[in-house]
């Protein structure tokens, strides 16, 4: 498998600033189809900003983002939205009056435009997205009547309903209980391996992030290491950016992170 040509989204030497403060410094990553990539790093590393640059929501001040080998800014808003789905860290408090189904249907906007009417195919995609995040049972409830975790699953279904080849998720597990966190990890694996989507997630929970196919370790706006957790340099970079407060150990087939309590 050669990396070139398979990449759905790629950042080339990308720099970006927020409110005139430089946040990213020459970040280069490839996000191949059929692979779940987790972006990890300490607070303020620039993880969310990187995701927003990849989604075209924050302009790169240097370097470029390529979507299917074409610079992101050359795509129209709508084409870009059809190819890159993004889910924010916000938890949909503003959408309290909308029903879950209304919210998930918004995921079809990039395909329908504002004036289009959803057809049977859109309906099928919305149903499937709600089934995938287990929110079909309360599809008719209002967002305002849901718990934080339920709202998060509705918003995830909204992102899935776009059916984009690249799916960018900013902290998708914050409000989820352990069973639903694990269900999400399984879902991300399926989306990547079965549907061939380039899945990218920012995750604070390191033990969940270590289940991804690849890790991008980010610190102070720079990539410290990238690759699967099996690679020793990736594990070393993780230990270093988290100031050796965690230890990464192998349990059976998996890697897990445990807090280093002994000083």
């Amino acid at each position: 498998m050669t990396r070139h040509g398979l990449s759905v989204l790629a950042a080339r030497e990308v720099s970006a600033s927020l409110d005139d403060t430089p946040v990213l410094h020459g970040v280069s990553i490839e996000l191949p189809a059929g692979c779940w990539t987790a972006i990890v790093g300490p607070n303020g590393a620039g993880k969310s900003t990187l995701l927003r640059v990849l989604a075209g929501l924050v302009p790169a001040s240097g370097g470029e983002v390529l979507l299917r080998d074409r610079p992101l800014q050359e795509w129209s808003h709508r084409e870009r939205a059809q190819h890159v789905a993004w889910m924010s860290q916000q938890h949909g408090e503003g959408a309290a009056d909308l029903g879950v189904r209304d919210v998930v249907h918004l995921g079809r906007l990039p395909h329908l435009g504002l004036l289009g009417t959803p057809g049977p195919e859109d309906e099928r995609i919305v149903q499937r997205a709600m089934a995938q995040t287990e929110c079909a049972a309360w599809a008719h409830r209002r967002m305002g009547a849901l718990s934080g975790g339920e709202r998060q699953r509705a918003l995830l279904a909204r992102a899935l309903a776009v059916r984009a080849p690249a799916l960018l998720l900013d902290e998708p597990t914050t409000h989820l209980d352990p069973p639903h966190q694990i269900a999400l990890v399984r879902l991300l694996h399926r989306l990547a391996h079965d549907d061939g989507i380039a899945v990218v997630s920012v995750l604070h929970d390191l033990s969940l992030a270590l289940q991804a196919d690849r890790l991008v370790v980010l610190a102070a706006g720079r990539v410290k290491a990238e690759g699967p957790c099996d690679h020793a340099p990736v594990r070393d970079a993780l230990a270093e950016v988290f100031e050796h407060a965690i230890r990464i150990v192998r349990v059976g087939e998996r890697w897990i992170a445990i807090p280093e309590l002994a000083s």
Binding site: A55, H77, V84, W86, D97, G99, L106, L109, H140
Partner: protein, 336 residues
Amino acid sequence: MIAPEAARARRRLAFALTLASVVLAVAGVMVGSEGWRPGALADPGLRDVLWNIRAPRTVGAWLVGALLGLAGALAQGLFRNPLADPYLLGSSSGAGLGVVLVLAAGATQGRAIESLAEDALARLGLVGAAFVGALIGVALTLALARGARQSTGLLLAGVVVGVVLGALADLVTMASPEALRGKQVFMLGTTGFLGWGACGTLAIALAITLPAAWRFSRALDALTLGEDSARSLGLPLGPVRALLVVLLALATGAAVAQAGLIAFVGLVAPHLVRRRLQAPHGTTLVASTAAGGVLLLASDVLSRGLWAPQELPVGVLTAALGGSFLLWLMHARRTS
């Protein structure tokens, strides 16, 4: 397909608003200084009053309220701010200034106010001026508040713009006494001068703004997820926002040009709807339109009936009722 409870709530609200509109329309035709008596239709004098004064006034009051309710629902959805309202956003006072300027210009050409009110072309000119004034009012308020995020900032900017534009309108009327008379006619906030011509203009404005707002309401739904999420869905936010502000200004301008400054209908109608029905913006826009119509028509019937045969300007009544509602709303927000 929507949830059974939501569908029930929707049906109940639609029924209540329709019933209220019909009952109030009947009351609107029956209430007035000349009163009502059995066999009124047989009396040519009273029939003339009913057909040429009370009926257009009743229909017009509903239409003005509907436009204001729509403008309020649009403003609240667009600026994600529950206190947004055409009156508080400065668009009403902008529209008022536009009307006064046209009146003054007409007066300098020696045209009587009455001819302005009756001539269809002049009516269109009034609506156009009110529309441009409303756009300028909103733009000034938004520029002063640097966006619409902060409720208090927006409110404060709206008050400042309202006072300044109001003062400008006063200056124009001082320079042109003929316009002063017109200003009293148009700016009191009254439904008393609505004829069938005005009803036609209002109906056309509603026929343009309501379907267009409904068509673009999904953008308001997407904005509830946050601005970035809406952009990530490929929405051209700038043009969509501009279009919705234009619709807001058109609805406000048409209402103000026919009935003057009527406060708080645009603020209260969407709130009353949302207390009964939580739904996507497409539904709440239509319901707020109907609720605005019912509110203003009810106020109009009240203002005619409370001290009959004396009449209260309806703007005074809505200001008193709406002001109390705003106080209550601010109190409820603070305690929640």
